[in-house]
C-alpha cells in the first residue's frame, strides 16, 4: 500500500505545506482571479460555516480519511451541497482533505 500511494502522497504533502505557508486569508487583487487558497482558508470560508457550528457534523480531529473527505466534497452528503472543481480547485481539495485527516479537534466547535 505504502509503495503505491507514496509517489502520489509526496507531492500532495508538498502542496499542503506550501499552501499552509501562504497567508491565512489570501486576499484577492482587483482585476485578478482568486488565488489558490490554503486549507485553513478554505475551511474557514466554506466548510467551517456549517461543520462545528451545529449545522453539519464536526469533522476536525476525527481522522477522517482524505479520500473520504474528497468524495464527500465532490458528491455532497445528505444536506451538504456538492462542491465542484471550479469552487474548490483539485489541488486545494487535495491539500484540504489531508489537512482535515491530520487535524486536531477545536474546542470552540460544537454540533453533532
Amino acid at each position: 500500500m505504502k509503495r503505491i500511494f507514496g509517489p502520489i502522497l509526496a507531492p500532495t504533502l508538498a502542496v499542503a505545506a506550501m499552501a499552509c505557508a501562504a497567508p491565512l486569508l489570501a486576499s484577492q487583487k482587483l482585476g485578478e482571479t482568486q488565488e489558490l487558497r490554503a486549507p485553513e482558508a478554505v475551511y474557514a470560508k466554506t466548510c467551517g460555516y456549517c461543520h462545528g457550528r451545529n449545522v453539519g457534523p464536526i469533522i476536525l480531529g476525527r481522522a477522517i480519511p482524505a479520500d473520504t473527505v474528497k468524495y464527500i466534497v465532490r458528491h455532497g452528503q445528505n444536506g451538504m451541497p456538492a462542491f465542484r472543481p471550479t469552487e474548490v480547485k483539485p489541488s486545494e481539495l487535495d491539500a484540504l482533505a489531508l489537512w482535515i485527516e491530520k487535524s486536531t479537534a477545536r474546542s470552540g466547535e460544537h454540533g453533532q
Binding site: 482568486q34 445528505n78 451538504m80 451541497p81 465542484r84
Partner: protein, 542 residues
Amino acid sequence: MSEINMDRRGLLGAGIIGAASLGLGTGASAKNPAPLAPGLTKADFSGAMKAFRGVVGAEWVFGDEDAVAPYTKTYIPDPNGYHKPVGAVCPESVEQVQEIVRIANTYRQPLWTVSTGKNMGYGMTAPATPGQVVLDLKRMNRILEVDADLGTCLLEPGVTYQQLKDYLVENNIPLWIDVPTVGPIASPVGNTLDRGVGYTPYGEHFMFQCGMEVVLPDGQLMRTGMGSIKGSTAWQAFKWGYGPYVDGLFTQSNYGVVTKMGLWLMPKPPVYKPFMVRHPNMEDTPKIIEAMRPLRVSSLVANCNLMMSASYQLAMFKRRNEIVPDGAPLDEVSLKKAAKANGLGMWNTYFALYGTEQTVAAIEPIIRAQLTASGGEVMTAAEMEGNPWFHHHSTLMEGGLNLDEIGLLRWRGAGGGLAWFAPVAAARGIEAERQTALAKEIVEKYGFDYTAAYAIGWRDLHHILALLFDKSDAEEHRKADACYRELVTRFGAQGWASYRTGVNSMELVAQQYGSVNREFNAKIKHALDPNGILAPGKSGIM
C-alpha cells in the same frame, strides 16, 4: 431554417412532457447514460465536447459520470431523476464564453449557465430539461472595479459574496454587501439574475443592479445601459441608458450569458441597530403585517423584514424529533413550548434601523409604539444577546456571512430534501392569513410541516415556504413532488403565483402567467436564439 429550428424546439418541449409523463429517469451510469438533448446524436455531443476541450483545456470539461457528479446534486424533488446535466464546461474568460456559445450553435448542444451554481432548493446546477451541458462560470471570479465614492462595483459571475466582502474588509472600504442567507458560497451575479433577495436596505437585489455585459446566443458581446458608450464613466452609475431598458430581459431568462454585472453597494451606516419582534400566536399573522406595512412603505423601516415562523426558526438549529416524536404531527402546543424555551415567539420578525445616533433615536419610539400595539414584544441586542437566532438575523441584516440556515436540511431525516415555494402577495394582513391557512392545509395533508416565513418587501410579501423532506426515503420524495405541485396549482388558482421557482416546476409556474406572456417570451427567444442553445426550459421558455 426556421422550420427546422421550430421542429427542434417542438422536440425539446415534447422532451419535457414526454420524459416526465413516461417517468423516464436520466440517472446517468455507464450502463444507463444520461439522455442527450432531443435531436442530438452521440457524434454531435462528442464533437461539441471535443471542441469545448479545445477552448478551455481538457481539465475544465467534464463528461463522464464521476466528473459530472458534483453538477447533479440537488435538494429539490426529482423522483424520476429528470434534471441531470450531461456534462460541464468551465471557461475563464469572456472570449472563451463566446467561443463555447458558437460551438454550441454548431452542434446544437444546449448550455445551462450558472455563476456559482448554489441555487439551493431551486436546482443548484441542474438544468430544467435533460441533455444540457452546464456552462459553469465560477472560474471567472474577478472583482473588476470597486468605486468607494459612488458605492458601486463591477463583478464577474464567479465572484462569491465572501470574496467581495473580504475585498472590502481587507481594503478598508466602508461599503456593505447585501447577502441572501447563504452568502459565503453564492454570488451577487447569480443571485441577482434569479432576482433573489437579501436583508439590508439593498435587499431587492435587481433594483440595485446597474449595467451588464452579455454574450448573446449568437456569440456577440453586448453591454447594457451606458456600457456601450465609449469613454462613459456612468456604466455603474446610471441604470437606464437610452431606449428600451433591457437588463430585465436577462434575469430569470435564457436570452444571454451574463459575463459582467454592476451593482450598487450601501455605505456602511454610522449606527446599525437590529430588532426582533416576538408575537405569541400563529393567529397574529395579519396584525404583524398591518403594523409593518406603513413602516415599510414609508421607509421608516428600510430593510426587507423576515417574519419567521417558530417552526422555520427551530428547524435551523434543532431536529424535528427534539420537538415531537417521529411520525407525530408538529402540533402547536409542542411548538409553542419549544419556541418559548429558546427565546422565540410563534412569529419572529426581524428588522433593523440604519442611520446616525440622532435618526435612529428619533425613529425607534415611533416603531416601538406601532409594533407594541400589534401585540409584539420588541427586543434588541440588550435582551437577546447570545440567542443564536437573533445573532443569525442580525448578521444577515448587516450583510454578514453565515450558513446557519443550511441546518434546515437536517430537520427531517438525513436525506437532504428542500424545495422553496415562494408565492407573492400584496402586503396585506388578510392575504398572509389566507396563504398560511392554505399552505398548512396542503403540506399537512402530505405529512409535511409548515416551516415558512414571510419576507415583507416594500409593498409585497414573499411567502417563503421551505418544503423539507427526507430525500433518501423514496416514498417521502414522491410525496414532496406531489405536494409541491399541489401548492403551485392551488395557490395559482387563488391568484398567488411564485416569484421564482426551481427547475422542477418552471413549466408549471410559467403556465400560470398566461399564454400572451408566454408567447411574448417565446418570440424574443426565437429571435435571439433560433437554435435554442441557451438553457431551454428556464422559466418555462423554450
